[in-house]
Subunit: 151 residues, 2 copies
DNA sequence: CTAATAGGTTGCAATATGAAACTAAATAGT
DNA sequence: ACTATTTAGTTTCATATTGCAACCTATTAG
């Protein structure tokens, strides 16, 4: 991480990207969502180089997004999502929905998602007001809060 | 984009990341959402190098996310979001919300967002079923669709 | 006890990024 | 009309990151 870091920017998104914006990080996290936990599982699934995978996993652990620990009953290592990691599911789901719509697979949807409790399908990600009304593109107004600083 | 492309992966998210996953791309798009349209506006706001900004803008145009055109009344260039570009607002909003929560600014929220029609605040991004019920972390089940191919 | 698997590290070539200098065209000021 | 400034880039070069392959060590399986 010696390319210019986004950390100095006063922007939540820049902070997020500093944690997960490196090449491969989100794909690793997607696999973690799909239940993968081990070094070689990520390796096989993604076709990423070993040294890069190692660097990314370490970074995600440092950032508090994954936890590294010995797997129960064995001395294998496993990487599991923390709360902060699981909270990235909205980012991942948004990217998947965008890809489904604008970069579709010719044969149809690759995966769909359902609520594991009710079995009900998951709805396309959208932006809503607190009262639940959908907010269309271009209808979002930005309001500066107390944490804005002008350089 | 001559690093190994994610295009060959059969995953919607990989396709999305191929379009917007390069360094700086999402920050440029955030500025576009905030209403910036011109080369020097992006430059001043982000502190990105000129050559990189140029490369990213061209790539986003190729990917159909921005449109490059002469601004009305002048011969200046402007870059504006296409529909596909505007559809990325869920990704951006998800990242901002994650950053607000897990990488907060000590003085408080940097920006908040409201529906420009009603003025009502925008709700934290979440995952919902089609009937509107919130789906918690770990409650999402993945269902393979017709577009899955096993390498 | 031996081979295979898991989880790495190291070295090197190929690529990407960042900073600064340089262009060229359009606009603004006098 | 002429000059200075702004806009939107391109080029060059040093530095940083990525990708690939080989190597390594500790566990587990047979």
């Amino acid at each position: 991480m010696k390319y210019k870091s986004y950390k100095s920017m006063n922007c939540s998104m820049a902070q997020a990207l500093d944690a997960i914006g490196e090449r491969w990080s989100l794909l690793i996290l997607r696999e973690a969502f799909y239940g993968k936990t081990r070094f070689n599982q990520f390796l096989d699934e993604l076709g990423i180089a070993r040294n890069i995978l190692s660097a990314r996993l370490n970074h995600l652990v440092e950032e508090g997004i994954l936890e590294k620990r010995p797997a129960a009953e064995t001395s294998h290592t496993e990487y599991v999502l923390t709360d902060a990691g699981r909270a990235l599911r909205t980012v991942i789901m948004s990217l998947i929905h965008w890809g489904d719509e604008y970069r579709p697979h010719p044969d149809g949807e690759r995966f769909s998602f359902v609520d594991s409790q009710s079995g009900e399908p998951i709805r396309k990600m959208g932006i809503h007001t607190v009262s639940g009304k959908e907010v269309g593109p271009g209808k979002i107004k930005v309001v500066p809060g107390p944490g804005v600083r002008k350089n």
